[in-house]
């Protein structure tokens, strides 16, 4: 966004939040939930809408001990400074009892000190930053009001190494890769996971890393360089405007398979956003992802969501589900604890456990790792992170991620891990199979 637009947007935000909230006061007969996230992004909207539906249902069931639950919102514009201001606004002006976040990593890291200062129970539904959970590991009492109901990136990486070994190396026979990565903190973090974890464990050699600026709109020389590297496949790491790199991969019919992390491919709008030029792309995704078969309770949420909202995202992203179920758990804990006082609410929230079954099997689970509780595979603790399971047969929790494949006919399926797979990992039709 250029400076003029930014200035206008900030002025508009200041005006709109001022107008929207003037005259509101924290009445004693209401409980306030504050949403923090981007109003414009699909991910921000997913969390917001999941929270809105959960609050509607909670209010229909009598609210919290007879008190009506109201939702107030603060826009982060996916900007760290705006995010900090938004958290302060929720805490100081709105005096919220609970915060639900749909923020990206950098923004959550930005307002985290404010959360500690105001001591407001907070649930993050999108960020998977292990650094935040590490803060709870090292200083639990200070950060104990924080919960994250998406698996951390470290847990996500553990399962992605399995995908590298089982599918990329073993099934496809790929031994060499070239990383095409955007120049962001996210890009660098995933690059680290691939070069230091996935590649050595799967026996895949990284021949070259091509880092591009997020403003790049012409990828033809980048793809040519990737092809010239002699790699068996491209490992893409793209979160900003990643539909552009995807669509150019398809339009240019790059003769190398491409997998990796492609954030735009996480939503149902991906096909529309790429104008149909998005087939052959695969990406890891937190769950429930696009193409993910869902249980009855999740399906009921989707039905309500689609009846209520007609604009994008037409199908909630994973964090929409997290917000819906997570907010209900937060209020269930508050009911048991007699409110959101940290001493009683935190242990109550730690004990919340929602198992969603499909065909009689555990399919999704909303529970949290308790302080000191060790995850058996990594041997470390993840206090207040969602209780994921990264070892087959995934019977004590949902896996930390799945791999989603977009096919050339516009359909998306889960291709890994096998328990959740409803499709096959495939290379695009123009790529010669080895």
């Amino acid at each position: 966004m250029n400076p003029f637009m930014k200035l206008t947007a900030v002025a508009a935000l200041a005006l709109s939040t001022g107008l929207a909230t003037s005259g509101l006061s924290h009445a004693a007969d209401t409980v306030k939930v504050g949403f923090i996230g981007s109003f414009a992004s699909d991910t921000g909207r997913s969390t917001l809408r999941g929270a809105e539906i959960a609050i509607e249902e909670l209010n229909a069931a009598g609210g919290l001990n007879g008190k009506k639950i109201v939702l107030v919102k603060a826009d982060t514009h996916e900007d760290v400074t705006e995010g900090i201001k938004a958290y302060e606004y929720l805490a100081e002006t709105e005096k919220v009892d609970f915060v639900i976040s749909g923020c990206i990593d950098d923004v959550s890291l930005g307002w985290l000190p404010r959360m500690v200062e105001y001591k407001i129970p907070t649930l993050d539904t999108w960020t998977s930053n292990i650094g935040i959970i590490d803060k709870l590991v090292s200083d639990f009492d200070t950060y104990k009001m924080y919960f994250m109901n998406v698996a951390t990136d470290e847990a996500l990486a553990a399962l992605y190494v399995d995908f590298g070994k089982d599918i990329l190396a073993k099934k496809m026979g790929w031994k060499k890769t070239v990383i095409v990565q955007e120049d962001t903190a996210f890009g660098n973090a995933i690059n680290g996971l691939v070069t230091q974890l996935l590649a050595p464990e799967a026996g895949i050699k990284v021949l070259d890393t091509i880092v591009y600026d997020t403003a790049t709109v012409d990828f033809s020389p980048i793809f040519s360089r990737a092809v010239d590297s002699g790699a068996d496949f491209i490992y893409l790491v793209a979160s900003v405007n990643s539909q552009v790199v995807s669509s150019q991969y398809v339009k240019l019919q790059v003769p190398l398979a491409m997998t990796g992390v492609n954030v735009s491919a996480l939503g149902r709008e991906y096909w529309e956003d790429t104008g149909g030029a998005g087939g052959g792309i695969s990406t890891l995704s937190p769950i429930p992802s696009v193409g993910f078969a869902i249980d009855d309770e999740s399906a009921a949420f989707v039905k309500k969501y689609q009846a209520k909202y007609s604009d994008r995202p037409k199908y909630p992203h994973f964090n929409g589900f997290n917000a819906y179920f997570g907010l209900k758990q937060a209020f269930s804990a508050a009911e048991k604890a007699g409110g959101f006082g940290l001493d009683k609410w935190v242990p109550a929230m730690e004990n919340e456990d929602l198992v969603l079954k499909k065909d009689g099997k555990l399919w999704l689970r909303y529970a949290f790792w308790k302080p000191g509780e060790k995850e058996p595979r990594t041997g470390r603790t993840y206090p207040h992170n969602i209780k994921f399971d990264i070892s087959p047969p995934y019977d004590s929790g949902a896996p930390s991620m799945v791999v989603v494949q977009w096919y050339e006919d516009g359909k998306a399926k889960v291709v890994y891990p096998p328990k959740y797979a409803n499709g096959e990992f495939a290379v695009p039709s123009w790529v010669k199979k080895k």
Binding site: N2, V211, Y212, D218, P221, Q248, D273, G275
Partner: protein
């Protein structure tokens, strides 16, 4: 090397097409139209709306883009530039602000999400590691055809010669009976139409986004400054220098450095040869 040559020529052709309309306005009106990138954006969105959202024939999409650009050019001249005549700084600032306003308008109508335009001409050739899309070939061919057409128009037609006269000496043109206001209006319309035509190819090659006007603007400003005031031939050559520089940088040095050398070139030329490499006072 082959892929650098191929991709260099394709990209340069597109850049030349993007720069023509801007050069024309700079030559005739001595005005840096900083809303020029908006023509590209409007052209891209008009084509997208007609051919991709309404599923109408591509030719109709193209026609709507050209009309959109032409009308935008006329309105810009009549409502803004003409009223600020003589004050170049005011024109530059107001056209820049106008571009931001147009961007906000596009966000209102189409929202701020990136859209992908399907190729105007489908198909890909592979030569070594390079992919040659028919779309880029079409842009390159269109660029050369339009450049040749513009050259003939300016040199051989009565109206073209009048445009040339205004570009060389506006006062002299008035004395000779040329209606400079009419010539300026026509030039702005042509510039808008050329910009929006380039926008369709540019968007089909890259993306459609409300902030997509910025990158092309930087490129065309570079072409005009480095090429020299109003020199079509200079613009053509510099479009190729910049196009090749970008491809070579990305392929052999670093993808992150792609635009840096273009900026360095602008600064270097401004310091060493302010009139541009091929600077002239007429078309």
């Amino acid at each position: 090397m082959t892929q650098i040559l191929i991709q260099g020529f394709l990209l340069s052709g597109l850049y030349a097409l993007m720069a023509i309309g801007f050069t024309l306005i700079f030559s005739v009106g001595r005005v840096l139209n900083l809303a020029y990138g908006s023509y590209l954006m409007l052209g891209g969105y008009a084509y997208f709306y007609v051919s991709q959202a309404l599923h109408m024939p591509k030719l109709l999409g193209f026609a709507s883009a050209i009309v959109m650009g032409g009308v935008a050019g006329v309105l810009m001249y009549k409502l803004l530039v003409k009223r600020l005549a003589g004050d170049q700084v005011a024109v530059e600032i107001s056209t820049l602000i106008l571009a931001v306003v147009i961007q906000a308008g596009v966000v209102l109508v189409f929202n701020d999400s990136t859209k992908i335009l399907l190729p105007i001409v489908n198909g890909v050739w592979r030569v070594g590691s390079a992919s040659i899309t028919f779309n880029m070939l079409a842009a390159m061919v269109a660029s050369w055809v339009i450049l040749a057409g513009l050259f003939v128009f300016v040199k051989r037609t009565h109206l073209g010669r009048a445009i040339q006269a205004v570009s060389m000496d506006p006062k002299g043109a008035v004395i000779s009976g040329v209606d400079t206001d009419r010539i300026n209006l026509i030039t702005w319309a042509i510039s808008g139409a050329l910009g929006s035509t380039a926008g369709v190819f540019f968007a089909a090659y890259t993306q459609l986004n409300p902030s997509m006007w910025v990158a092309p603007l930087i490129i065309v400003v570079a072409v005009v400054i480095v090429g020299g005031i109003g020199s079509i031939v200079g613009s053509l050559i510099v479009a190729h220098i910049i196009g090749f520089m970008e491809i070579i940088t990305t392929s052999l040095i670093s993808a992150q450095m792609r635009g840096v050398f273009t900026m360095a070139l602008i600064i270097g030329v401004l310091l060493l040869r302010p009139q541009g490499l091929f600077g002239r006072s007429d078309l």
